[in-house]
């Protein structure tokens, strides 16, 4: 039998062939039945209205490619709604970590609505969405994460172009369902955009009615390999492993030519340089848009820093120097550059996607830093966008306002970091930031952002319990629990909701059950600010001490000494529990952050 790492290596190529997927399905099943000690096993349930064997095989391969060994449960054919609603079903007994729901347009749309008016269609769509919300709630309460497929419309029409104007046409029902389901799912559900996948392949190529009628298979199996990276995007969203940073090379990657040799005006960029120049510029627009929507951009290039930076002075350069949160140019190797970038940005190496036109560089990075996703862009700028986009590296499951503010915040962090080099000491530096903070009880609307932080915060995360929005709802309703969030702004940027804390009243004290903070606001005394507020709230609730808890994970060593730094005394010898008595002076919790608004917990 193959080992997990051998299997992972086998499945690393793209796209996977149908036979490879189906063969691997059996091998993964065998491996998961008797896993190697310490293997990262997770239970994944797949439930849908049609034949699931092939899609579940592709899901198993995708999960292996993400470094997790899945134990897969396939719900009985056609009975997925009952399987989810009945909490004694096989699916619930399996206790999945992740459930994948695979509906099909044929059972979700209503053929009798074909001539119905807008109102009747809206009512029917609303009822369908409600049914899914009920299913998600049941799955969410059982502490599982949820991934669902969007619907793909059939290729035939009933009234030609007029179908687009008819609210009840099947195409419009599918469109409305996709839109409303994604809206209702919020941060609770991650989506595999099957409609987008089918359209990018071509819906006639995608569909195969012969397979549907003979075997109840919803699409042509030739495309099963293309499904795998799409699923991985959704998996990363629920696992909290979505990529956060795009690190790019410069010469022949952001522009044609070598700035050190050709000079700024010799670079091929923009329409004056024909197809190649236009393609490089379109790629720059794409990269800048990724930055605008919250991906952190960074440069890692073998160059003289001054000469490299001058490339952005090209009149056709869409990207400017301050679009980047980190700028690493030197003549040493890129592995060192990437290390400095993750250090500067305070992010994990595994949240980095690195792109370069030179296969030797991507190969070196892949070998030395296997956690980094290194993409060889090739030599043809016309293909760059597609090569990056194909991996779904930056897929998000929901959209929050903080995502758009992030680049400004990271650009600000770089400026703040530059000030820190100038500032004579840390105290005057922190003072000069003019920080304003507030700690408060999050509203229903803000819970989505809290859930997002729970999913993706790895470093400043004391217990990595990863509460889902469902869990948070329940915690908010529990009078013995305290759910707090913190916002921080400084003179460079509004960092938004960037820290959260869950406290539980126990044995006369308050235990900090979960505490996390975005790396954007590390080392700014925000932890002192939160703890001081928490101490007041805990005292109001009659607690006489605060119990801190630290559970080590592969990534949270940065907070291993947080509690002793905050004046807690060890309770257990293993570094897990820490105690700080209340009712004593808390001068040691003085901060450089000013209260933004009156507390309203």
């Amino acid at each position: 039998m193959k080992s997990f790492s051998e299997l992972r290596e086998d499945l690393s190529k793209d796209p996977l062939a149908l036979t490879d997927i189906y063969n691997a399905r059996g091998q993964i099943k065998d491996l998961a039945a008797t896993p190697e000690p310490g293997a990262p096993v997770q239970r994944v349930a797949v439930a849908g209205s049609l034949t699931l064997e092939f899609i579940s095989g592709a899901i198993a391969c995708a999960v292996v490619r993400e470094g997790v060994l899945p134990s897969v449960y396939e719900a009985p054919f056609g009975a997925y709604i009952q399987e989810v609603l009945d909490t004694t079903s096989g699916l619930h007994r399996f206790e999945p970590h992740v459930t994948v729901l695979v509906p099909d347009w044929r059972e979700i749309t209503d053929p009798t609505l074909i001539g119905a008016d807008e109102k009747a269609v809206a009512v029917a769509i609303g009822e369908r969405v409600q049914q899914f919300e009920q299913m998600w709630d049941i799955l969410g309460r059982a502490h599982g994460r949820i991934i669902q497929h969007t619907l793909v419309a059939p290729i035939f029409l009933y009234r030609g172009v007029a179908d687009q104007a008819a609210p009840g046409s099947v195409n419009n029902q599918v469109r409305a369902l996709n839109r409303e389901l994604i809206r209702a799912g919020g941060a609770k559900v991650a989506w595999v955009a099957m409609d987008q996948l089918a359209e990018s392949i071509g819906r006639r190529q995608w569909s195969n009615d012969r397979l549907y009628y003979t075997s109840k298979i919803p699409f042509d199996l030739r495309h099963l390999g293309d499904y795998v990276p799409c699923f991985q995007g959704a998996w990363r969203a629920v696992a909290g492993t979505t990529k956060k940073v795009l690190v790019t090379d410069l010469d022949n990657t952001l522009w044609g030519g070598v700035v050190g040799d050709d000079g700024v005006h010799g670079l091929r960029l923009g329409p004056e340089n024909g197809a190649e120049g236009e393609a490089f510029q379109a790629w720059q627009y794409y990269v800048r848009a990724l930055g605008d929507r919250g991906v952190i951009l960074a440069v890692c290039s073998k160059n003289d820093p001054k000469v490299a930076a001058s490339g952005f002075d090209h009149p056709q350069s869409v990207l400017k120097l301050d679009d980047f949160g980190a700028f690493e140019c030197s003549w040493s190797d890129k592995v060192g550059g990437l290390r400095r970038i993750v250090n500067d940005l305070n992010i994990g190496m595994d949240s980095v996607v690195f792109v370069d036109d030179n296969p030797a560089e991507t190969e070196l990075v892949r070998r030395e830093l296997p956690q980094v996703t290194a993409i060889d862009l090739g030599t043809d700028p016309i293909e760059f966008i597609d090569r990056l986009d194909a991996g779904h590296w930056f897929d998000l499951t929901s959209y929050t306002a903080e995502d758009t503010g992030r680049r400004a915040a990271y650009g600000a962090k770089r400026m703040a970091a530059d000030s820190s080099r100038r500032a004579p000491d840390i105290a005057s530096f922190l003072n000069s930031l003019c920080m304003r903070g507030e700690v408060f009880r999050p509203t229903e609307k803000e819970l989505e952002r809290v859930g997002q932080l729970e999913m993706k915060t790895n470093q400043f995360n004391l217990t990595t319990r990863r509460y889902s929005p469902f869990d948070l709802d329940a915690l908010m309703a529990d009078p013995q629990c305290l759910v707090l969030a913190m916002k921080l702004a400084d003179r460079f940027a509004d960092h938004g909701l960037t820290a959260t804390l869950v406290g539980k009243l126990e044995n006369g004290g308050l235990r900090i059950d979960s505490w996390l903070m975005s790396c954007r606001i590390f080392s700014r005394t925000a932890e002192h600010f939160m703890l001081a507020r928490l101490a007041n709230l805990a005292t109001d609730r009659g607690a006489t001490f605060i119990m801190g808890e630290y559970l080590a994970s592969p990534k949270n060593a940065v907070v291993a000494d947080l509690y002793p730094r905050l004046g807690f005394e060890p309770v257990s010898g293993d570094g897990r529990f820490w105690r700080r008595d209340l009712g004593l002076p808390n001068d040691d919790l003085a901060t450089y952050i000013n209260q933004a608004d009156p507390e309203q917990p």
Partner: protein, 76 residues
């Protein structure tokens, strides 16, 4: 031709080509079940540029039968 068909079938079933003969058939060959049949048909269609009807798809359950069908389709 012989080798090509056998190798496509072997690859689709995930078995060694030398373990297959003209008489190999669904139900009697290890791994050749109704789901494998779908993979097999998909791979044969792609490799030989032919298309089977759903009746042919469910009838062509041995290497000999698959060969007859592919040869017939390739001529017409």
């Amino acid at each position: 031709m012989t080798d090509e068909l056998i190798s496509v079938v072997a690859k689709s079933l995930g078995v060694d080509p030398t373990s297959l003969s003209e008489a190999s058939s669904m139900g009697e060959t290890l791994g050749w079940d109704s789901l494998r049949q779908l993979i097999l048909i998909s791979e044969i269609e792609r490799s030989f540029g032919v298309k089977f009807s759903f009746q042919e798809m469910s009838d062509a359950t041995s290497i000999a039968l698959l060969r007859q069908l592919v040869e017939k389709k390739k001529i017409t």
